[in-house]
């Protein structure tokens, strides 16, 4: 009898402890920042994205409300196979709930499938391909900062309307370059322009002279750079060397980041037109955030739009977690919640997460300042136009996302 009672007590105690662990688990999330930590995109995302994620966790105030939020980071080295291996290990072994950042469209699309299969949450900030919210859209994915459709429409349209009606593309030979060339070509054709040729170069090319000579020979008015990071900076620098801009052709940097402008130097970069959705010197909110951010960066650099997107995307994710009150492990459910809350944050302003996972917010047309106009080490951009959020991204009736057809 005594044994039975003690066994019962023991059983109750065990059941209680299991229950209490379960309820504590309810408010535990683990976030993985998957990025290029050492390659050509490391400065525009990489360690800065991890810092942005840390700041989001601190600023969310969720810890004070009983949440436990863990953060880990990984280096996908711009290789889709490495990216998916890390993602699988994070979900299966490390019990990660949410993956953020993931620059490089090739890696981003591969990881997109893993997150969907594992029912996690995927907040992509670094990748450009608009396929993430079109043909390859997923109920687990939110695409925050920018995409190829937006870049093509904002920059492409502005340039064609300004008279640049013949185009030649220098395209990075992977998913991102292909998507950006495709989307920009559509805009050029729709506005009455013509594409006279294109050349695909391998990712991470040091010498662009051969490709630039082909672009020069094409006599196109605009040379569209459908590449990113180090590839874009090298293209622009070497185009100046070969006298391409002086010869009357115009460069369209379809995707240019703050860190790229720094690397090229204002002397060569001045006058370039391009589009971004965030700049540190836009308003008081962005300046305040950027000040805190650059104080913690080893290089003292302010955030790029990708790093800002990691912060803002996570802040919105935390809002959804708070609204759910707990049990954050059903990824599709969390993303569904994120879609019901309008986005509103100090960095990107107001917008929404559309049904296909696309986040809308304003996009800005910038021009790179002349060296004489720049007042500080990162004072690079002049705002020349704003595209409102509801016009900047793929209209829902044109999105090919299967989620919209239910």
């Amino acid at each position: 009898m005594k044994n039975t009672i003690s066994a019962l007590l023991l059983g109750t105690a065990m059941a209680l402890s299991v229950a209490s662990i379960a309820s504590a688990d309810d408010k535990v999330v683990k976030i993985g920042v998957l990025s290029d930590q050492s390659g050509l995109y490391a400065d525009l995302a990489g360690p800065g994205s991890t810092l942005a994620a840390q700041m989001a966790i601190e600023d969310s105030g969720l810890k004070a409300k009983g949440w436990t939020i863990d953060l880990i980071s990984g280096d996908h080295q711009n290789k889709p196979d490495i990216g998916t291996t890390i993602a699988r290990q994070w979900f299966d072994v490390d019990k990660v709930d949410t993956i953020v950042d993931v620059p490089n469209s090739g890696v981003a699309l591969a990881v997109n499938n893993v997150v969907k299969e594992k029912n996690g949450v995927y907040i992509n900030s670094g990748a450009a391909t608009s396929d993430l919210t079109n043909a390859q859209c997923s109920p687990n994915t939110v695409h925050w900062t920018y995409d190829t459709y937006m870049l093509a429409h904002a920059t492409g349209q502005a340039l064609v309307k300004a008279g640049g009606d013949t185009w030649f593309f220098l395209t990075a030979d992977y998913a991102f370059g292909a998507a950006l060339e495709r989307d920009t070509t559509a805009v050029v054709l729709a506005n009455g322009g013509k594409v006279v040729g294109s050349v695909k170069h391998p990712l991470n090319t040091a010498d662009f002279s051969s490709f630039l000579l082909q672009a020069q020979a094409s006599k196109a008015k605009i040379i569209g750079l459908a590449n990113a990071g180090g590839d874009t900076t090298n293209s622009i620098k070497q185009a100046a060397e070969f006298g391409i801009v002086k010869g009357g052709q115009k460069l369209a940097a379809l995707l240019l980041f703050l860190t790229d402008v720094k690397a090229i130097g204002l002397e060569t970069a001045q006058g370039l037109n391009f589009t971004e959705t965030f700049y540190w010197d836009l308003n008081d909110n962005t300046r305040a955030f950027s000040k805190r951010f650059s104080e913690k960066m080893k290089s003292g650099a302010p955030p790029t739009m990708v790093q800002a997107g990691v912060y803002a995307g996570l802040m919105h994710y935390f809002k959804a977690l708070e609204a759910l009150g707990g049990n954050p492990h059903d990824g599709a459910k969390v993303v569904a919640k994120m879609k019901t809350i309008p986005t509103d944050d100090p960095l990107f302003g107001k917008g929404e997460v559309e049904a296909n996972g696309r986040v809308t917010h304003d996009a800005y047309l910038f021009e790179v300042k002349k060296p004489s106009e720049s007042k500080g080490p990162w004072d690079f951009y002049k705002l020349v136009g704003t595209v409102p959020g509801n016009q900047a991204f793929t209209p829902l009736d044109k999105s090919t996302c299967a989620l919209l057809k239910k």
Binding site: D43, L213, G230, K237
Partner: protein, 287 residues
């Protein structure tokens, strides 16, 4: 046809970097029997030294062409004295692993402090602008790179193959004990040779600084191709590596024109073909 001329010329420009770098590797391998995997990192250091000289000391490009190879060469000699010399006589693999490790450490340190997207270094005023050749616009700087590196390559070849000092060096590689018996300080000669090979890498780094970004990974991206060049040319052959360097630059340039997607693999395809047909390389002797 015009476009083809232009591509040939552009190929020669890239070829001059391949030639300078593979020449350094060939000198080091030929004389020291070390497969110097740190070559790319030392090339990068050359570019960074030029950047520091300009931005911290206000010392211009022309002085950098002289100072950077010396600074990096001294760094190389310290490496040789403190580490590499202990590996003499061991299997090649040890030297390769050690220098590979050094390359990773050096790159990691630079990346930690300077990030990955690079620093700008502008073309010296005297070499700005370009000339219209009819079939292409040739930037003066690029023309300078081709001529300068050709001169340096030939001078190095002359030094090693045609002078008394070169003869000592080659003899010291062949039979160090005997050469020592003639009263020649062989270890010091080997250290200086390593310094020379490394200095050539740094020189290439300075030359490339105005064309490419000064980036921590600039050497890592290049070194694999350069190794392929050395393998094709024949390990340790001085003239072979110079000719192969220029030739492969041209072949790569043509590929960029006819089938750009393959432009970063064509060198390796050639390497495989050469290894299958003539395993010692085009100009190499049997080991």
């Amino acid at each position: 046809m015009q476009a083809l001329y232009a591509q040939l010329l552009v190929g020669l420009i890239n070829g001059s970097f391949y030639a300078l770098l593979s020449l350094g590797l060939a000198v080091i391998f030929g004389m020291l029997n070390i497969i110097n995997f740190a070559h790319g990192a030392l090339y990068m250091m050359g570019a960074f030294v030029a950047y520091f000289l300009l931005n911290l000391g206000g010392i211009n490009y022309w002085w950098a062409l002289l100072i950077a190879p010396i600074v990096v060469g001294v760094f190389g000699m310290i490496l040789e004295r403190t580490m590499l010399q202990w590996l003499a006589g061991l299997d090649h693999l040890y030297g390769l692993l050690l220098t590979f490790g050094i390359a990773l450490i050096v790159q990691g340190v630079f990346q930690n402090y300077f990030g990955s997207s690079g620093l700008p270094y502008s073309i010296p005023d005297q070499l700005k602008g370009g000339v219209n050749l009819g079939f292409m616009f040739l930037p003066v700087y690029r023309g300078w790179v081709v001529i300068f590196s050709l001169v340096v390559c030939l001078a190095t070849w002359f030094l090693i193959e045609k002078t008394q000092l070169g003869a000592y060096l080659r003899a010291a590689t062949e039979n160090p004990t005997l050469v020592r018996a003639f009263g020649i300080n062989v270890p010091r000669m080997i250290t200086l040779t390593y310094g020379l090979g490394v200095g050539l890498a740094a020189l290439a780094g300075v030359l490339s600084a105005p064309i490419n970004q000064v980036r921590p990974l600039m050497g890592a991206d290049l070194i694999i191709v350069v190794f392929a060049v050395v393998v094709i040319g024949g390990m340790g052959s001085i003239m072979g590596s110079i000719i192969t360097g220029f030739a492969l630059g041209v072949i790569e340039g043509l590929t960029k024109y006819f089938y750009p997607e393959a432009s970063n693999t064509v060198v390796f395809v050639l390497m495989v073909v050469v290894l299958l047909v003539k395993p010692t390389g085009l100009t190499g002797r049997a080991a």
